[in-house]
Point group: D2
Chain length 343, copies 4
Amino acid sequence: MVRRMFASDNASGAHPAVLDAIRAANEGHAYAYGDDDWTRAAEAVVRRHLGDEARAFFVFNGTGANVTALAALMRPYEAVICPATAHINVDECGAPERFTGGKSIAVPTPDGKLTPEMVERAIFGVGVEHHSQPRVVSVSQSTEYGTVYGPAEIAALADVAHEHGMYLHVDGARISNAAAALGCSLREMVADAGVDVLSFGGTKNGMLFGEAVVFLRDGLGADFRFVRKQCAQLASKMRFIAAQFIALFGGDLWLENARHANEMARLLAEGMAAVPGVAITQPVEANEVFAILPREAIEPLAKEFGFYVWDERAGEVRWVASWDTTPEDVAAFVAGARRLLAG
Amino acid sequence: MVRRMFASDNASGAHPAVLDAIRAANEGHAYAYGDDDWTRAAEAVVRRHLGDEARAFFVFNGTGANVTALAALMRPYEAVICPATAHINVDECGAPERFTGGKSIAVPTPDGKLTPEMVERAIFGVGVEHHSQPRVVSVSQSTEYGTVYGPAEIAALADVAHEHGMYLHVDGARISNAAAALGCSLREMVADAGVDVLSFGGTKNGMLFGEAVVFLRDGLGADFRFVRKQCAQLASKMRFIAAQFIALFGGDLWLENARHANEMARLLAEGMAAVPGVAITQPVEANEVFAILPREAIEPLAKEFGFYVWDERAGEVRWVASWDTTPEDVAAFVAGARRLLAG
Amino acid sequence: MVRRMFASDNASGAHPAVLDAIRAANEGHAYAYGDDDWTRAAEAVVRRHLGDEARAFFVFNGTGANVTALAALMRPYEAVICPATAHINVDECGAPERFTGGKSIAVPTPDGKLTPEMVERAIFGVGVEHHSQPRVVSVSQSTEYGTVYGPAEIAALADVAHEHGMYLHVDGARISNAAAALGCSLREMVADAGVDVLSFGGTKNGMLFGEAVVFLRDGLGADFRFVRKQCAQLASKMRFIAAQFIALFGGDLWLENARHANEMARLLAEGMAAVPGVAITQPVEANEVFAILPREAIEPLAKEFGFYVWDERAGEVRWVASWDTTPEDVAAFVAGARRLLAG
Amino acid sequence: MVRRMFASDNASGAHPAVLDAIRAANEGHAYAYGDDDWTRAAEAVVRRHLGDEARAFFVFNGTGANVTALAALMRPYEAVICPATAHINVDECGAPERFTGGKSIAVPTPDGKLTPEMVERAIFGVGVEHHSQPRVVSVSQSTEYGTVYGPAEIAALADVAHEHGMYLHVDGARISNAAAALGCSLREMVADAGVDVLSFGGTKNGMLFGEAVVFLRDGLGADFRFVRKQCAQLASKMRFIAAQFIALFGGDLWLENARHANEMARLLAEGMAAVPGVAITQPVEANEVFAILPREAIEPLAKEFGFYVWDERAGEVRWVASWDTTPEDVAAFVAGARRLLAG
């Protein structure tokens, strides 16, 4: 029996077109480490999305993208300001600290979104040697709470960062979902909004593995090849990451996948909101749904349908829809919830 | 036109059976990060090869395997003793130093192989706080010079390491080629010989990507899950690394691939040795051939057939055969070399 | 004219007895790095205060003591839980992150003091590889807000730490002031309360320089000699740190110095509380006074009497009394404040 | 009885003038961390010696000076080339690796001295991401073998470094001894010779503790204040390091101390060379003497006169003369050696 779940968008596999692209690239020999035609083509694909200045470097995974990006931007005596809920703050086992030697300044937020005011308040001790010097603002788009920054919100964060001589990094593990949600291009939302560096997500959008670090401003990332290699994020058979990126982002597949996942999340939220005892806790703007359930229902429901508890103390759970989530999956889940909660 | 080359065994793609296995695993949902049936099966496959105590952790790439293994074994005030030619010493851009904070003690060797006597001489300052404390001996099997340690040689290194309270790590990016060369099982060559930790290579044997860190002694690697995660080597869609390992190592495909690559290297060395002006510089025991050529021939030959200069000063080049190298590839290369060198 | 100020207890120099001790130790030769009679005697002095199991290692400065202590207790994938106001969190430029590679979990507090409940709430994700594993609770005694933990409060923190398999570290840059405030011995307050590791402060109590890291539980600190050396905190002419420790802690001088500083702070707070426009913001339990002043008075007063603004946004300032602060210093300051605030 | 020994120049204490200077500085209050008149005056003293561009930052110890200097010059993916005998390579327990995250490339030398040719041969893989990028050449002056680079030799090293876009760092723990040996000013030997950064030694010349990192070229060290603080090398009561530097380097005391130590080493070498069975192994150019003795004589002689074995395998020992070594010390040692070796 094929398992279906809502645990995460990385519980799904790869889109068939991605596997086809890998098979097509699997012919003959190619120089390793990115000195190949697929990689050059994938870099061009990223430039089409993010502008001629965009320089993409492919890496293995999301944590790898985030930490190599931060390691390229920060010296050890510097700090990154991020929401307390940020993946880099809570879900990477301290990888940013280990790779950068620097400090994470975690800011509590109600919805996973940082505001310019929060950034201003978190900036502290500039120019004084006793204090870690703020160098990067990092936000996730969409956020770990499934919320989305509008392009103007991103631009305002970029402005406040740049005013203070800082960079804006975007953890875009779900950047496609955000673009789909906003109905705008990656360029409007990222490059035009003033983002300096993007962790460009591929895995959750339907790849087997693979992300990119994209530098969007001249002069940034000049030494990134060395950072990537030393941080063990340089793939030898690079063409296979590149081919996957081309498959998704060379056309509109990325957008279809993201739209579909978002739509499934909306459907799920709608269905579950109508189940007695369930309260949706965050706006459902991308492909994630957060909810509070009766505690006794969580375990049996999670066992049957596969999802994680988000906040043990609050009894809050997270459901994630993916590019391959079906309306039938959603319907079965809602029905199961009704059944269990009625019990 | 399909490109053929001798640059490295990572210039080849994936074995068709590996792609088939990925496609087969690409059905339905699975918990991420290794909490899935494929990963559990692949761990069992490794145990079949390396014994019941072997605990395998899958990672993305060879550098990732080496540095997470070392980071698990060493504290920052400790050191790893390795041949000067070791991948960890010259080809990882200082990744071991960055991940461990510790020191690499590089020992010159004629053939890429460390001996117990060399290890003894490199041990220095034990118990004295001014000096990095030797903690790990690391050797590559097969070596970066294409030479192979016999099981007794590995056992002797393990003995000297253990006598000094140190661990023996084997960088097995080409462990399959070594096993094929020696005609012995992985178990005889690794676990039975006293190796403590193995970087178990998959990519060069025919995978898209994927290696494993295998702890072979009780008590080692107890906290490795955290090391792997913090070092950004934990794949979310882990089942796809696992499926590849099963495809290669679940049966004999790994051995066929390795034997074939070794055989092609032997053929190549034989053919090239007969070309006037070419001198083979190292014993050809696995799938690599080292040679000295007239300097003026290197560039045109490399341009046409794809390989790297190994030692600029010596004019030494490296040719690597892969699982998919054909006798025709070899014949064309030898003919091309004859033609160019006759010119 | 001799300058007097309230900027910090490190604005004062060394106690005359400390200089005398240095001069007395400055005779003949001694093996470097602590292999000398002064160091052995100073270690014994620490054992008299903190129990037979206490093992003291002398280092240069407070940040050095804290980060080497943490580096000895933590692996990079682990975390330290501390108050947001902790010196290790805000005043060491990210040194703990750089030296440990691990994460600081900063907990907001009203008064600089952590409670067991706060620790419990900050513990998160234990056993789950995605999250930094809490390993150390670190508190300052007296705190950066001049408040003091009673022995029972320390014991409660030790209990909660130990229940979770964590260590309790105390940043005792002002441990003497805390002991003087509580009227109890260092042993009662530290060793008997279950503290695992103490940063034992000397500089602020009247030394030129010098602190100690003291391990209080068997098995801890076994490899600390290497940590200290690699972290560049091993003094060559160690006897001169040791001699200072003996001068202060061999008898009661440390306690007289601390009592005096505390008394001067009390006197200052009393005097200033009576000045119209001045509000004391924290309980004055040790040798620090925090206050809110009319903003326009801060700069001229600070210029004349030497102190720092603590919280720019709140208009809060900090005044610190030292072992050599005199009643005349205090009276002059209060009079100056009256004069300026009346203006 | 006052102990006399030849173990190291850090076995001696502080020059009386240094203690007097500390006592004189111990009056009243001063802002901590170097915002004081003594520090400003000591910085000016360094400029008088090393030129107007010289910017001095005082630190605690020699390892601290070296590693903060390297951490300021290097990114983690870079490397420092140094003689295999360098203090940074063998006597700092891997501190450079831990503080920089980068690689040490250790070059064997006959006499502890690096040549431009050795540097050229050690440069490898420039521009290629697989290899640590050489960024710093580091030499000790005088060397760990007691040998001295002439100004032209330093200039040649600076030239080769600069041609390759690298920096020249000098570990000057015994820079005064080298200046005394060469009869030239610090400026000729350091700034005029093209050195970029100097670890400026104080402790071995007669201080209690204290060294400086001196940047000699515009643009270098701009962020060093943060590096120093985060690396735990910022003294709170900085005036006391500064006062010591002024005492030694404000006049000619540093030179008298160094000349005397060198002269005592010369005397010692002369005396010992005439003892049957003793062979001096290195030119005695500064204040260190290396010799081979009959193995059975080493332990009793070391026990009585205090010195270390340098090379266990070769039976080579090291004797160091200090600013306070007397002709009587030397005579007693030579007599003792004669007695023991005659035995």
